[in-house]
Amino acid sequence: MAEAKSLEVDLAGLKMSNPVILASGIMGTTPGGLARVAREGAGGVTTKSLGPEPREGHPAPNVVKVTAGYLNAMGLPNPGVEEYAGELEEVELEATVFGSIFAHDSEEFSRVARVMEPTVDALELNLSCPHAESLGAAIGTRPPLVEEIVSSVVREVNIPVFAKLTPNVSDITEIGRAAETAGADGVVAINTLPGMAIDVETERPILGNRSGGLSGPAIHPVAVKSAYDLYEAISIPIVGVGGIESGEDVVETMLAGATAVQVGTAIADRGMGVFRELNSWLADYLDSHQVELSELIGAAHDY
């Protein structure tokens, strides 16, 4: 009998036990939440995005269920990077830890990155939150700004730096190239798409912030296309994210070009067991197709 295929993956030098990573914004509000997801079998976990100061986030409702997904407008709630990093130090995590950070400009990004660096294995720069004014996507849609921020953080820290990209641009590869030029070790694509839900009985927008970001199966094809296009455009690793809920979605995203994937909203629909389910499906797939995990990456580009 052939030996079971390994799910281990090397992502920009990070050795992970499997390619399924918890996406930022989900369960990462506290280090205790990250520890839980690590125990549930994720190969990596990403913190909630941390900024220079504490933020309470947007008024509720923060989440609305829509067809094939969720709209959310959390508004980057976080206790501030110092507070979070202090708490993270107390916790042992059995997974690769990605520290997601946001800030207003390159100087502030660098400062937040410095505080985060000692407690995480890699950084993810949130250049793409669609519903916080003057943060996130306001920065991530401009290639020169992306380049400036990424290069400033890369100079500042000695751990891998990933840029999380917004799909809300006419050409995501321009932003991907800017990140690569600036020295990013990889990109994460995609963040949520802007969306809105209005209640017809009260005639009001439902979210407290009026509009928010769409996640879940509705955006999965957008994520696949983004990974596919980025794979053609850049040579640094791509982490695929957006509506991944099944093992098939993982393989599809890797065939498009992703080295690893992130999972978030699927927890709402599939529960905390989703990490083990995806990995077990993936292991069966590799076995039945007699293919190595690394051979999947970008394989759809052969056709």
């Binding site: 914004g25 989900i26 369960m27 990462g28 509000t29 506290t30 205790g32 939440g33 520890a35 839980r36 997801v37 125990r39 909630k48 504490p54 933020r55 309470e56 986030g57 008024p59 509720a60 409702p61 923060n62 989440v63 609305v64 269920k65 067809t67 969720y70 959310n72 959390m74 709630p77 976080n78 206790p79 501030g80 507070e83 979070y84 708490e87 209640d199 009985e201 009260t202 009001r204 439902i206 407290g208 978030g264 909203t265 927890i267 709402a268 529960g271 905390m272």
Partner: protein, 259 residues
Amino acid sequence: MGKDKLRIKKINSVREETPSVKTFKVFDPPSARSDPGQFVMVWVPGSGEIPLAVSGVDDDCVDLTVKKRGSTTEDLHELEVGGKLGIRGPYGNGFSTPEEPSLLVGGGYGIAPLRYLHQKYSSEVRILVVAGASTEEELLFPDELDPVALSTEDGSRGFGGTVLEPLKKVLKEEEVEKVYASGPEKMIHRVLDICRGRNLELEASLERIMKCGVGICGSCLIDGFRVCQDGPVVDLDQLKELEEFGVWERTFSGKREPI
């Protein structure tokens, strides 16, 4: 979509329970099929969204008992019959069915989910109630629940102080196998100690800041336990494993603060 989809409902009736607490009756079959202890997310249009435990069921209507304690609950208190609410859920898990002599201990408006438990099972099994409130006029459902002992913080009725003293007294005098608790976390933390010391079973309903209700945003985490999905009802074995329980709470930003 199912239960997660927002349902707009009109308020059928409003009852003033105490100077700071009202019960809103709403026709909503999905919530009316909830188990005692489960909660719904309630949107007050133009104001905010809050988690509320179901406090009773009457055919296809649910009771939502709300204490005025912030801007959204204040706006909700202004609503009258015919006013519109958005409801999603029910979420989380409920209390197990009481099968032996049981005691319900409720602090303040925390007694709301216990009232539904009492309503559903008190004709089938012996259920005693111990209740606490800030003052006599803030005692909730006194006629319906007919507490065997009670406390008020100002001593205006029953024991003066917390609900713990009358609880200990009743546990000494009555045959009880299982305790169901709901109220402030500090109170539940002490009730846990009392139950462990007496080898009693315990189930408690926890309350934390909740934003999504569907187990993803992380606002209600105690260690890695999601109160909205893994709770809000927890048993004694789960409670004693939670290191942050009764010690740290989380603000809206996720910052931890001592309870």
